[in-house]
């Protein structure tokens, strides 16, 4: 496919390392002074470590600062980490659809503009311009996917079609009728849609040239399959709502890692065992400090995503560092159909059901390109029934409770009591067959 490299902000995206460090340092110093003054949580944390804003003179001092974890966000839910008066908050977004463990992120108007700018850089990276029509079938709502892409398209001056998720038939009709030149959704849905379009013989009637896919891990093979089926270039976009949403990092046409917009999000890769910086190319936990966020700035936020960093200049000309595709997590979180699922959520749900024992095994498969989560549950002996109808009712009940808890429907499989392996120490709770 014909390709012309476009760079939206070469003065930033191709900045020399020294200039970038100077820019980051200047922003970090300001941000640290800001959170020390305005966020009680950081004020306390820094005092506990004996660090004052004056100790931070540049990014070389980042290691002196406290970490922020997802639990900290939950403890300060919903507005405890604001660095601005609440009246300045122009938007909130939350983690993808789970209840009980919702994480809320706040944005000022300026934050949403920066967000749009970051996504617009990514859309440009995917070869798009103001002439393009972007079919957005990420969910719109608290989930950052839909609105994030929307903000980016607006900043770029392109047309966003706010389809939101679901209803594949209608997606197919609109893709054709509106002449979309790009689409954005989760990669698994892209593949699902691609197959449906192929079956309907519609692919050649589309004007698609690019796809921006993210919110769940995917493989190179999957990208090539989507590209082949839809005859497009596909790009991986990364983000997390705590930091921004989509647009924290994005792949260029060379697919040699995702470029981090480090003028806004200062990355670190730390060895999870020692919390010491990992060398370039070595795997560690990805940590972000938001350098320009106004509403909810985060210092050294632990993403728990494992990756490695490459700071060499990319073939596309950008000097922005690249992170590799994720190599796992420091916890056992799984992304199921774009939703973050923690085994502990399922355990808590099972504990609320008398008939089920908290012995379970999660099996993640990908069937027809959609994630399927099977929960194997041991049934309490006292509640076993000899009637299949009652066991089926129990299965439904367990399925509903789990769906309420994690926001994703699951297949429940009842198993004999004591049939799930009890391992010494840390129990093996998840089997992921998706080969990501």
């Amino acid at each position: 496919m014909e390709w012309q490299e476009r760079i939206r902000q070469p003065e930033i995206e191709c900045m020399s390392r020294d200039e970038m460090i100077a820019l980051q340092s200047e922003r970090l110093v300001k941000q640290v002074a800001n959170v020390y003054e305005h966020v009680a949580f950081y004020n306390r944390k820094m005092k506990e470590l004996g660090v004052e804003p004056g100790d931070i003179r540049g990014i070389e001092d980042i290691h002196k600062l406290p970490f922020t974890t997802k639990e900290d966000l939950r403890d300060n839910y919903p507005f405890g980490l604001l660095a601005v008066p609440k009246s300045k908050v122009a938007r909130v977004q939350g983690t993808s659809g789970t209840t009980g463990k919702l994480t809320l992120a706040s944005y000022t108007k300026h934050d949403t503009e920066i967000w749009g700018e970051c996504v617009a850089r990514g859309l440009t990276m995917a070869g798009l311009t103001e002439e393009d029509i972007i079919h957005v079938c990420y969910g719109y709502g608290l989930f950052t996917g839909g609105l994030g892409l929307d903000f980016g398209a607006r900043e770029l001056g392109a047309l966003a079609i706010p389809m939101s998720a679901g209803n594949t038939k209608r997606q197919m009709m609109c893709l054709e009728d509106f002449g979309a030149t790009a689409m954005a959704c989760t990669p698994s849905y892209a593949l699902h849609l691609a197959e449906a379009l192929e079956d309907a013989g519609l692919v050649d009637r589309l004007k698609l040239k690019a796809g921006i896919f993210g919110a769940e891990p995917w493989t190179v093979e999957m990208r090539m399959e989507i590209e082949r089926k839809l005859k497009i270039n596909a790009f991986d976009i990364y983000g997390l709502c705590e930091i921004l949403g989509p647009g924290v990092a994005m792949e260029c046409i060379h697919h040699s890692g995702l470029h981090i917009y480090e003028d806004h999000f200062l990355p670190e890769i730390l060895d999870p065992a020692t919390d010491k910086p990992a060398a370039d190319g070595e795997t560690g936990e990805l940590i972000f400090t938001t350098l320009t966020k106004e509403a909810m700035p985060l210092i050294r936020y632990r993403t728990k995503d494992l990756t490695s960093m490459d700071r060499s200049t990319c073939a596309c000309g950008r000097t922005l560092p690249r992170i590799s595709k994720f190599k796992g997590r420091t916890d056992d979180m799984k992304v199921i159909r774009g939703v973050n699922v923690f085994p502990t959520q399922i355990e808590t749900a099972l504990l609320s059901i008398d008939e089920a024992l908290p012995h379970y095994l999660l099996i993640v498969d990908r069937e027809n390109n959609l994630d399927v989560l099977t929960v194997m549950v041991e049934v309490d002996e006292r509640y076993f029934s000899d009637e299949i109808r009652k066991l089926d009712d129990l299965k439904k009940k367990i399925g509903n409770v789990i769906k309420q808890a994690i926001g994703v429907s699951v297949k429940v499989k009842l198993v004999e009591p004591k049939s799930i392996e009890r391992s010494e120490g840390k129990a093996k709770r998840v089997i992921d067959n998706r080969k990501l």
């Binding site: 049934v379 076993f384 009637e387 109808r389 066991l391 499989k413 009842l414 004999e416």
Partner: protein, 143 residues
């Protein structure tokens, strides 16, 4: 009036039924009647055995969970329409049957019935001229 059935939840995996039957065989427990209901994910094995309490115990020792379920063993004369007549009696008296299976015992045909209200079912059947097997009769094969 009612008899004990062993109900065993079986995961759909190779050799599971064989394991259960082997445990019973090893312990000298005879199977008088059985029914195996299957779903896509699991099976439900229902057994009338010579010694249900011991059966439950030995299965438990082998790590297999068996429930003792109260069921009725109905005697049905070998004559066309006799099971139908028994069903009519139950339906007219609002007794729902959860499941049923047949077993051979003696000269009459026999059927194991599971209902939520076994005492009432037995009363209705007896008043209608039917007989049910007592425990000691039902656990012995081919009287």
């Amino acid at each position: 009036m009612t008899i004990k059935q062993l109900s065993i939840f079986l995961e759909n995996r190779e050799g599971r039924l064989d394991e259960v039957l082997a445990v019973l065989g090893r312990n000298g427990i005879n199977i008088v009647a059985l029914s195996l209901a299957d779903t896509t994910e699991y099976g439900m094995l229902r057994l009338i055995v010579s010694e249900p309490d011991k059966g439950k115990e030995v299965l438990k020792e082998a790590g297999i969970v068996a429930m003792a379920t109260k069921v009725i063993a109905l005697r049905v004369p070998h004559a066309a329409g006799s099971l139908s007549k028994a069903m009519h009696l139950l339906v007219q008296n609002n007794v729902n049957i959860e499941y049923m299976y047949a077993f051979a015992n003696g000269e009459d045909a026999s059927a194991v019935l599971k209902t939520e209200i076994p005492e009432k079912a037995v009363r209705v059947l007896k008043e209608g001229g039917f007989d049910v097997w007592e425990e000691e009769e039902a656990y012995r094969a081919n009287m």
